[in-house]
Each structure stands twice: as C-alpha cells, then as structure tokens.
C-alpha cells in the first residue's frame, strides 16, 4: 500500500469525507462513478413509469402531486450528474454509455405501471426501498455524494408518504375495484422491490471493497431485511397482503422471515428481458436523439450572445 493509499484509508476509517480534489484510488473513483451515474440514470428513467400515468391522473390534487414528483426526479438526476462530474466523469458520455447498455439503471423501472395504484406503490414501496439504501448512503465516504443523498432523501421521504397516502385513500375511501387495484399493484411490485437491494451478500462480489471504502455502509441483505421489517406494519395498516406465503414474524430473530426471491427473474430483467427494458431505453434514446438539434441550437445561440456581449464591451 502506497503512502497515498494509506492516508486515504486512514481518512476513511476516521470518517472524514473524501472531497473531489483529494487523492483517491482509481478503483474508488470508478466504483463511485458507476454507482452515482447508475443512480442518476435511475432518477431519469424512473420518470417514465410515472409519466405513463401523469396524463391520466384522477384528480387535480393527484395530478399536481405526480407532476411535482416527476419534476423533483429530474432535479435529483441533475444533482447526481453534478456529483458524478466532480469525479471527472462527463454526463453526456455516461448517458451515451447508458444508451449503449454499458451502464444500468434500477431494474425496478423495467416493470410496467398498469393501474393508478401503481403511482402509490412506486412512491411507497419503490421509493421506500430506495430510501433505505439512500439513508445508509448519507454517510457514504465521498462528500459530494453524501451531500446529494442528504438532500435527495428529504424529498424522497415526502414522496414516500404521498405514495402511501394514495394507497391509504384508495383502501379506506375507495370502491372494491379501487381496493383490488391496490392489492394487484402490491402483488406486482412486492418482489421486484425486494430485488432492488441486489443479490444476496454471498453473490455480491463487490460488497467487501465497497464496505471497506465506506461507499456502502450496509450489505444488501441487511438493507433488504430492514426494508421488510419497516414495511410490513405499514402493509398491515393498509389492510393488504404480500404475495409471499412464507412471510411471518420471527420472534427469536426479531425480524420478519420471508420466502426466497426468484433470482432467475432478477437476472432476466438485468439481462434486458424485463417487460419494459427495451422500451424504456428506447424512449430515453429517442428523446436524446430527437433533441440533438435543440441542444445544438441552444449552444450556438449562447455563443452568439457571448460574442455580441464581447463586441459591446470592446
């Protein structure tokens, strides 16, 4: 271990944040770029399943909430891309890599949104799972990422409460059809939400190094258990169930036991065979391709304006 590496690891161990201009191991930088870009892409791709219902929201209140949420997600994306760029990565390059399939986004967004309750479920379960991850990441060792997480977590918690409230309203004040929508939605999103924490620790090769660098502060299985433990009481309060016959409270462990995840599905979705992989990526790629002339025009215009100002100043 070089002196630089030792100094770096001592800082990490002492819980001192690494900042953009500090020395860092190349693998640390690459791991962070991958993780933050993946997170940023997820915010942007994550707009699509919601965008699918924003034109069909049932009331002014719900429409405005959903639009505000989508706007926040675009904001999170921008904020995360900025954090990523402090590491020397380029937003456009990373987006190109996304479109070439070299970088991932959260697989959860490869599932379709099929009824209005999904707008509640995404807020409650999907954002809920994301928050469990992100709360842990608030203490991540890289300063800009940590600060982004702190800010994002606040808004995400708000979205999660809103999502839960959508479901609660449907369960409490809704018709039988609406209640069925909620249960159907939970049935479809439960397992994919658990998959959001990634493979079992034993199948997660990078976890060890990421933990040592304190990029990750908890293992996948720890976070998944935490999510389940906090979610089931909320589920019961809703009056719904999850599609897992093995789920039950384990007094001895002080945790919920749960059934085995269908990892075959997880890896199929990861490989591109989820119900919406192709469509999500194509939508984003088309947006970028069709917007190329707009971005170019904006740049040319900005340059012209700058020249004019310089001429006026001269």
């Amino acid at each position: 271990m070089s002196a630089e590496e030792r100094a770096f690891q001592e800082k990490i161990d002492a819980e001192i944040k690494i900042e953009a201009k500090n020395w860092m191991p190349e693998a640390y930088r690459r791991t962070l770029i991958r993780q933050i870009s993946q997170h940023a892409h997820s915010e942007i791709v994550g707009m699509l399943p919601e965008g699918n219902w924003v034109t069909r929201a049932p009331t002014f209140k719900r429409k405005l909430q959903l639009m505000a949420k989508i706007q926040d997600e675009a904001g999170h994306g921008l904020y995360l891309y900025s954090a990523m760029e402090t590491l020397g990565a380029d937003r456009d390059d990373e987006i190109e890599r996304l479109h070439r399939g070299e970088v991932k986004y959260s697989s959860i967004f490869n599932y379709p949104t099929l009824n209005w309750a999904d707008m509640g479920t995404i807020g409650w379960l999907v954002d809920g799972a994301a928050i469990v991850n992100q709360v842990a990441l608030q203490r991540t060792s890289y300063g800009p990422y940590s600060r982004a997480m702190i800010r994002i977590c606040k808004e995400e918690s708000f979205h999660q409460r809103q999502g839960y409230e959508i479901l609660l309203t449907m369960m409490r004040e809704g018709t039988d059809e609406q209640k069925a929508m909620v249960q159907d939605s939970i049935n479809r999103f439960w397992w994919p939400s658990l998959m959001m924490f990634g493979p079992h620790d034993s199948d997660s090769p990078h976890t060890g190094q990421s933990m040592a660098w304190k990029i990750k502060r908890h293992t996948n299985d720890e976070l998944r258990q935490r999510f389940i433990d906090q979610t089931i009481p909320q589920l019961e309060f809703l009056g719904c169930t999850v599609p897992d016959p093995d789920l039950k409270w384990n007094e001895a462990r002080g945790h919920y036991d749960f059934g085995e995840i269908q990892w075959e599905e997880f890896y199929q979705v990861l490989k591109g065979n989820g119900p919406c992989n192709r469509e999500r990526l194509r939508t984003r790629k088309n947006a970028l391709d069709e917007g190329a002339w707009v971005r170019e025009a904006a740049m040319v215009y900005a340059k012209k304006q700058q020249q004019k100002q310089q001429q006026n100043a001269a």
């Binding site: 942007i44 707009m47 699509l48 919601e50 965008g51 924003v54 034109t55 069909r56 929201a57 049932p58 009331t59 002014f60 719900r62 429409k63 405005l64 639009m67 505000a68 989508i70 706007q71 675009a74 904001g75 994306g77 921008l78 891309y81 209005w116 959508i166 309203t169 449907m170 004040e173 809704g174 018709t175 059809e177 609406q178 939508t283 984003r284 088309n286 947006a287 970028l288 069709e290 917007g291 190329a292 002339w293 707009v294 971005r295 170019e296 025009a297 904006a298 040319v300 215009y301 900005a302 012209k304």
Partner: protein
C-alpha cells in the same frame, strides 16, 4: 345572459386553456430534449394545472350546482370545453411546442396582468397569483424562440415552420364574443383590443430579435372554441385525460 353566467363562461375559458396546455406538457414527460427541459416543462405544466384548478374552483362556486373542480375538469365532453384551439394542437417537435407555448404565454401574461385590476375580487386574486408564474413562463418561452430562431440554420427553419404552422390558431383569443364584451363592460374582463396590441408588439419584437419572419397579422384565423367547436384533437386528449374518472365514476382517489 346574466353577468354571473357570462362570468362562469369567462372563468372556464381561462381554466380550460390552462388545463389543456398543462396536459399537453405532461405528454412530454421523459421525452424532452434535455433533463433541464424535463424539469422546466413539468414546472410550467404544474403552474398551469394549478391555475386551472383555481379557476375551476371559482367556476363551480359560480355555477352553484354542487360540483367540485375535479368533476368540472374531468367529466365534460369536448363541446363543453372552452379552451383555445391553440393549446390543443399537438406537441410536434420542440419548435412546435415552443411556438405554441410562446403565443399562449404572451396572451396569458397580458391577460392576467390586466385581470389583476378586475372589478371581480376573486378574478383579480387568481390572476395576481398566476401572474408571477406566467411572467417566468413568458420569459422562458421568449428565450426559446430566440434560441431556436437565432441558433443553427436547422433550428431557424424548424422554428419558422412551427410559427407559420400554428399561426392560424393565434387569432381566436382576440376575437371578442358576447361574453367578452359583457365582461369588459362590467369591468370584470379585459379589453381584447388592448391585449391584442400588447401581444402583437411583444410577438413582433421577439420574432425580430429571433431573426424570424412574423406571419401576416391579417391572415385567416381559425376560431370556434368560445362556442365549444374544437379541432379533432381535443376528443383524443379528453379520452386519455378522463379515462379513470369515466371508468370509475364517483370514486375518491
């Protein structure tokens, strides 16, 4: 027509235009040319739909039939809508969307500004609340007209085509009917001739700065929305926008 009837219609026109344009902006979600534009479009849409809600809440009070704003927005059919033909036109490419937005924003801005002095306190209040947002909308869309107009050769051509294409829908707002006249006479509504003048000046200045050719101000203008006669677009917008409310009537969401 009583003043109250005319006012209801007047308020509905303002609300419906904001709602339908907000709906069109929702259609851009995930498809905008840059993440910054995703944010901006959703932001403008959010403002417009918020304003639509304010107008509709007032409209249902005026109607006094026990409906709420949601029912008014989401259970009328096309012929009962009073939005300008302009705002129901399709998104097209980004130049088309910018042209539609700019012509609307310029009308919207001068209209709300004038309505701040309405003799109807509620109208004045809603207008004042919206004016701050619309001031930003107009600044933003003017900027885009200039960026695309005075950007590249390609963007200039697209922007000019977009303006020429949508132009025929820009005149309707300024053609006064009985409701407009009654509202102006009552000191509630605006003087459309005045708004038209302000709009024209803004449009001419913006287009000139954008190196674009302003279409003929005397060109033939499509109209009909004030009588509920729309283009074929609106029916499809409503079918999508109202699906849940129609499929699950009288539900709480």
């Amino acid at each position: 027509m009583t003043n109250q009837e005319a006012l209801t219609d007047y308020v509905l026109r303002l609300g419906d235009s904001a709602l339908i344009l907000g709906q069109r902006l929702c259609e851009w979600c995930g498809r905008a040319p840059a993440v910054e534009e995703e944010m901006a479009l959703m932001n403008v849409g959010l403002d417009l739909i918020g304003q639509a809600r304010n107008w509709m809440e007032y409209a249902v009070e005026l109607q006094g039939q026990g409906q709420d704003a949601d029912q008014l927005a989401f259970t009328r059919d096309a012929h009962q809508y009073r939005n300008l033909l302009l705002v129901e036109q399709p998104n097209g490419n980004y130049a088309d969307t910018c042209a539609r937005q700019y012509f609307y924003d310029a009308w919207h801005y001068f209209t709300l500004k004038a309505l701040c002095d309405s003799s109807d306190a509620r109208v004045a209040e809603i207008a004042a609340k919206g004016l701050k947002e619309v001031t930003y909308h107009l600044r933003r869309s003017s900027e885009w007209i200039k960026r695309l107009g005075d950007g590249t050769e390609q963007s200039h051509a697209k922007m000019q085509a977009a303006i020429d294409e949508i132009w025929t829908y820009t005149g309707e707002a300024f053609i006064a009917d009985a409701v407009d006249e009654q509202m102006q006479a009552a000191g509630i509504g605006v003087d459309l001739a005045l708004i038209h003048e302000q709009w024209r000046a803004h449009v001419e200045a913006t287009l000139q700065e954008a190196t674009l050719t302003c279409p003929d101000m005397q060109a033939y203008m499509q109209q009909g929305s004030k009588q509920g006669i729309h283009t074929e677009r609106l029916g499809f917008i409503l079918a999508e926008m109202q699906f849940l409310q129609r499929a699950y009537p009288h539900s709480t969401w």
